[in-house]
Symmetry: D2
Subunit: 206 residues, 4 copies
């Protein structure tokens, strides 16, 4: 049986009209991926709720791997995150108006979790398809890192040895940066990169 | 009769395998553009020779407008150049090994020429299609500026009132910056932008 | 007799509390410079008026060289401008509320003027003192370029062979970018660079 | 009695002639700091050895706080690190030729340690003196992070409650980036910022 992979994206936040993570996730899953049973889930950009929606999908789908995807405005290519840190520290409110400052995500939880997907192998595979990618050493301190931490914490504590997880940050979409001079990538390019990540992750999952 | 537009791109230089300008020009011209008689020409990345090849094509085709396209590595989007300056000042050799330093392009020629295509209108039209674009105030001092200056100088002196011209710089292609952290745009996105520029220019040409 | 050099800086603009150009100019002139008769002048950040104030000082002082200095926010080091262009195109209002768009500075004037100070020699001299510097190919389209164009135009038409001129852009001061992640240089470092420029210019002036 | 603070800097690495961290540390300690018993130590840029030299100084001096300082080329201001991660992953060799890839610093050690100096308070205090500063979420994966991790690990395990620690990254010095277009700060500015950090840390140490 093909390994089952759950790919998540976020709704828009901070007043934006779109979130390139969800646009790319939908496109990545718009056609079948050989050898992978691929599912997607949209997450709210809300501390706490985002992790709950993700975990509900995990319990429903019982995937072998979860790859959460979010926007990192200003990045030039895909960034595969290496570590999630036990800290919420928001500089803007989330979509429910919450703005936690210097709060642990899981009180008494470990300081951090390393991604359990093969980070460098994913980066190499994406580059091999002609799409810029890099390892990232910080997923920020907003909802993205929060979701990554909760995913890895719950995988470690509730599904040890049965679920690997990671996070990929994607650049702005072109229409978000028409006159700003900031880097971007079209959704089609990002989707290609995500399909490569999913394929590479599926090889070690399940 | 439709206005005739000549769109040029450059061959690779400085040891690169590709030049995103020619990749995008070819793609931009791969399907017909309603209301425009579009032609393309590849230019050598050589001081002098590039302008000669371009002008030979002008004499052969008798276009109403010429839009030369070149690579500006590090740029995040399309850049429509406003001015060409009467100065060669190369920091690397061209493809024939020449590296002019602080030389006038046309001795006793004017210090500069403004582009005669509608620069800001082109930028606005490109942005309206969701592709990042900006006005640029310098085409550099390498072969791109050289070609733009010679094009505008010859148009002004040999075809006054009969030929408008301009220059568009395009970003790196993704495969050029896989691990460099520099911005890029896929050829398909750039080609869409170039088609918009051609259409906008054609409206005022001929 | 020592060559006389006029060094100008700008008042703050766009709501800022300070303009690093004037802070650095004042500091550069705070102690004598051997072999140079150095004078300074503050300019209003106003199209037209800035050039008038500068030219009044020229007529009063009869300098051998004028070096105008302005702020280029985001630059990492000193930038010695190579060319002034006959175009005002403001994206923000000047301090008198004027915001000219696509207007010639001198109707029927040349498209551009090259700086008549030794640009590359100045850059090399500044670097030799350990201060970052570069040649710049565009002084923008705001009051800085306006002043540089008028200076060179008037020098060429009213004082041919008797006055050389140029423009140096300087980075933000540290206190302007405390939390922005943009580059800066302290006034003391910029002033050292300006003194080097003045000294180098004085060698060929007069 | 005044709190005792140990401030460390690194020797040059990767073929450079200088390391701005040590230049600034020396300058920061060149004059007394009221209310602080300040000591400095130069560290080799060598995995393992750097931590040993630092810890030897800790055992000799018995400080209340240690602030290690290193170079982060490309940064525009001071960066106070929030977290050290249990991972060596070098992209260049250290000064002894070692280049560990994906190795834990302390096998079975925690994934990370948060700095125990008051990170945000230090950033705010530095900015208040007119020097750019920011919180950083990654100290990299080279010798800087290694030293920070070992410092915090040993403080936690060998001197619990008796020693606080942290890490500050500093920009290139101007002479390192004369023609590169990268940001820098003079040692005098960085030293001022470090003195502010030391003073702020001393307030909560001892």
């Amino acid at each position: 049986m093909s390994p089952r992979v759950l790919l998540t994206g976020f709704e828009p936040f901070n007043g934006a009209d779109l979130n390139p993570s969800w646009a790319a996730v939908r496109l990545a899953a718009a056609s079948p991926l050989p050898g992978v049973d691929l599912h997607t889930q949209l997450l709210p950009c809300v501390f706490g709720a985002a992790s709950e929606v993700l975990w509900d999908a995990v319990e429903l789908l019982d995937p072998d791997a979860v790859i959460a995807v979010g926007q990192a405005g200003g990045n030039p290519g895909l960034a595969v995150e290496r570590i999630a840190v036990n800290l919420d520290d928001a500089t803007i409110p989330d979509n429910a108006g919450a703005q936690p400052v210097d709060q642990p995500i899981v009180p008494d939880g470990p300081v951090g979790y390393f991604a359990t997907i093969p980070v460098k192998e994913c980066v190499a595979a994406v580059r091999a398809t002609g799409v810029p990618a890099a390892v990232s050493e910080s997923a920020g301190r907003f909802v993205c890192n929060h979701v990554m931490y909760q995913l890895l914490h719950r995988a470690a504590t509730r599904r040890p040895g049965r679920l690997i997880g990671g996070f990929v940050h994607v650049p702005f979409a072109p229409e978000q940066v028409l006159d700003t001079g900031r880097p971007c990538l079209p959704s089609s390019t990002v989707a290609l990169g995500l399909r490569t990540v999913v394929t590479r992750v599926a090889r070690v999952a399940g």
